[in-house]
């Protein structure tokens, strides 16, 4: 197993969860759907194994942020659809505000650094 890849996956895990939650806040999606949307949205910046999504989803299921239900897909196959729960939304909001706070801070630091240099 590629040690570097596994490390990157660890780091990205939190981000992956947050992005998936964001997508699900617009409505239920199945795993593959989320995977495709993630790639489109980030223009393939998030170059993680598609399979990593599933442990992340399972973890969020366990924490009660999302729930899962089997239903027909767009091509009428049986697919597992995930939808966000109230707790998931609360979690997403707090993560977003946390993210904004820290990125604002980073921006300030960078701006100061560039002004200074």
């Amino acid at each position: 197993m590629d040690a570097l890849a596994s490390q990157r996956a660890e780091v990205l895990r939190g981000t992956l969860e947050m992005l998936a939650l964001t997508l699900l806040s617009d409505g239920p999606m199945h795993g593959w759907g989320i995977s495709v949307r993630l790639r489109e949205m980030s223009r393939d910046v998030f170059d993680v194994n598609q399979g990593s999504l599933y442990p992340a989803l399972q973890a969020m299921l366990r924490r009660g942020w999302i729930k899962a239900q089997w239903g027909p897909s767009e091509n009428n196959r049986r697919a597992r659809f995930y939808s966000i729960t109230r707790e998931g939304r609360a979690q997403l909001e707090s993560e977003i505000s946390e993210w904004q706070r820290s990125s604002a801070a980073v921006n300030r630091v960078l701006r100061l650094a560039f002004q200074g240099g």
Binding site: M1, Q50, G51, Y54, G64
Partner: protein, 896 residues
Amino acid sequence: MGWFHELASSLGALIARRRQEAELRDEIRFHIDMETDRNMKRGLSEADARRVAMREFGGVERHKDDVRDERGAGALFDAWSDIRFATRALLRRPGFTAAATITLALGIGATTALFGVMKRVLLAPLPYRQPESIVEVWSAWKGFDQTWLSYDEWEGWKARVPAFADIGLFSDAAVTFDGDSPERVRSAAMHANILPILGVTPELGRNFTAEEDRPNGARVVMLGNGIWQRRFGGDRSIIGRHIQISGQASTVVGVLPSEFRLPTDFGGGERIEAYFPLATDAAAQGATPGPEFPKGGASHGFYAVARLAPGATAATANAQLRALVAELERFGYMANVGFHAFTIPVEEQITGRVRPVLLIVFGAVVFVLLIACANVAGLLLVRGESRRREMAVRIALGAGPRRLTRLLIAESAVLAAFGGTCGIGLAVLGVRLVRANAPITLPRVAETSLDWTVMLFAVVTSLGAALLAGILPAWQASELAPAGELKEGGRGTTTSRARLRWRQTLVAAEIALAVVLVTAAGLMIRSVRNLLDIDAGFKADGVLTMRLSTPSTWYPDSVRVVAFWNEVQRRVAAIPGVKHVGAVRLLPLATEMGDWGLQVDGYTPPMNQGTPGDWQIVTPGYFETMGIAARQGRVLDARDDMAAPLSMVVNRTFVERYFIGREPIGGRVRIGGSDSLSVYTVVGVVDDVRHNALTTEVKPAFYATVAQFARAPGNTRRSMSLVVKTDGDPASLVAPVRAAIKSLDSRLPISEIRTMKDIVNGSIAGPRFAMQALGVFGVLALVLSAIGIFGIVSQVVASRSHEFGVRAALGATPRELVMLSLRTGIRQAVAGLAAGIVIALLLTRLMTQMLQGVTPTDPLTFASVIIVTAAVTIAASIGPARRAGNTDPARVLSSA
């Protein structure tokens, strides 16, 4: 609410595992299919589209594993399947599994058994309320490091030591429960405040009242739980009943709880089973601290126990006692003998003396466990060696390093379960062994059992051992690089060498630990030998002893007592095989003896000092039976009867102390005060007998016959120990001697049937126990290390067979090859030996107080340990090394 989802998820994982697995499979299949379609729409062929989809998904099995991990309880299932897998794998290799199981079982079993003993002896709470504030109170002066209190001291301490909330006295004796089957039991006489001080209430009935605890109070008794159950069938209506005890009617007022013991009754011998009021006479004996305190200190004969006042400690009590004693000494009380009084917390009193012995033995057993773990770790490493290809294939197939580690840990866990199960079995045997061999000075050791806490300890120990033994091999396995492993076709290089180094380190550590144990065992063997080399002054071989007593009910006067002993001796002497027979007041090394104030004509003691003499009352025949030789004059014999002139025999210390430069024979000794009429003439001098212990100083002692001592000073010995000497096995005499006594008086209970040899061994039971335990563990450690060395040399020889073949082909002689491989084992041995000696030098100091006549750094012991370890190393290496010498170059080279 997070916990709720977590719980639901875990429960779901537990209940619906099969369904969840199917769903996971379906979900991933759906993903791959959709992705394949998407790729095909981009113009890829179906095969390519699927391959790309698979690649971009990443390892399917790995992600599945990760999802399972996220379910919560998944780990449990994985552990279960790992364990099933590991069990199957282990059962396929019965030799390896048996070796590892036995090794672990030995370590776990020994540790568990010892823990059981420790728990009972050291950790079990005392049966008192707040035992931490109970102290025993002692007096001490020259020649008596820790002895009883006098009545006056008790009154003084009670009135003038504020650190004592209350202090009470008790003493012990023996009584006979009369009836058809008379029973002799140990008894105690105690103040009515003893139970409140200890914080104990009777299980049935009540404690003595203050009125009963007075001279001429009602004759009442509290029964121990044991005799109540045994003799009275646990009858609750016993309260208020009159029973005959030693010829007197006594009213039962209470029954004590089964766990109750007086603080001095925690030995392994017979327990006290009858409690009477002490009924001290304040009017006759009482004196408040001051000039009226008797200068000589009067009779010291009571145990004392006190409850500390709130906020007081043993140290404050000791300080107050010091001040009070200093004040008393100004009045001349026990002056110039270094008199002092002190307290010892009851917990320390009961377990203090055995604590170091037990801790050292427990330390030794932990060493054995560590060695066992190291050995099993070594075995697992070797096994890992032969499984490298298997592991490499697993890694290549997508098993993550965590998964692999888990599998290996599971294997050692299964081994630990096997080892733990067998270990508990061994612990059961071990506890039995300890109970049979432990010194009776180990309090409550007979009650040792493997209860659930001990079982829990065994389980935790097994798990710890599994981790300890499994972690290194697992880590080594996770370092595996699959590509290299598979390419090369299984001929390992770097990892294999690293593993060998690890094994070598393990073996060196084992040897170091074994060296420490063997050193400790060696020191104890030397100590015990030194103890046994001490001349006790008598010969224990072939001597049988038993205690008999002649109650005043049936033997109202001394004439009848003397006649009884004469007749017993006549009948016992007639038994075939009996060489000598006699009787004595107190057996040496079985009891402690107090002294009697004497006046020796021609000897003036220094100011404020008495002329004490230990008093030993015997019947004619005692000296011959015990092999106590006369050095001057004669021993006491049948001539010294009631009518004859009063004659005594004294020991050599008596002569050295009181007949300095004078002829002792014919010397006159008065027993008691100057107005006493008991004037004895010294007729002989005998060797010193070590009475209180083998290692304590011998005090002046005199011997008188039971007949003459009854005449003057008029003290009829009711209880005596019969001693019988035979050339054969003393145990074979038990039945005939009992029969002889029964034929004379069937009412008399016989107790404390022991051989003199047992008594001698019992007196050094602590060091002997430590010696036996350390000896067993030392040998065990050596054997385990030898197995380790054997294994490592075998491995080296096997892995270098190719090299040896080349060397042999180039002209190396078998001898050279043997030496070459011997060296591999010896290097570990030398390293371990050096480390072990250093550790031993540091640790044996802890044993100082258990040693006798040998220093913790005894050169002889250390030299022997080096020789023994070296011999064991060579013996363990020689077998596999020989195989190296037999290397056939043609075969090795052609097979390569």
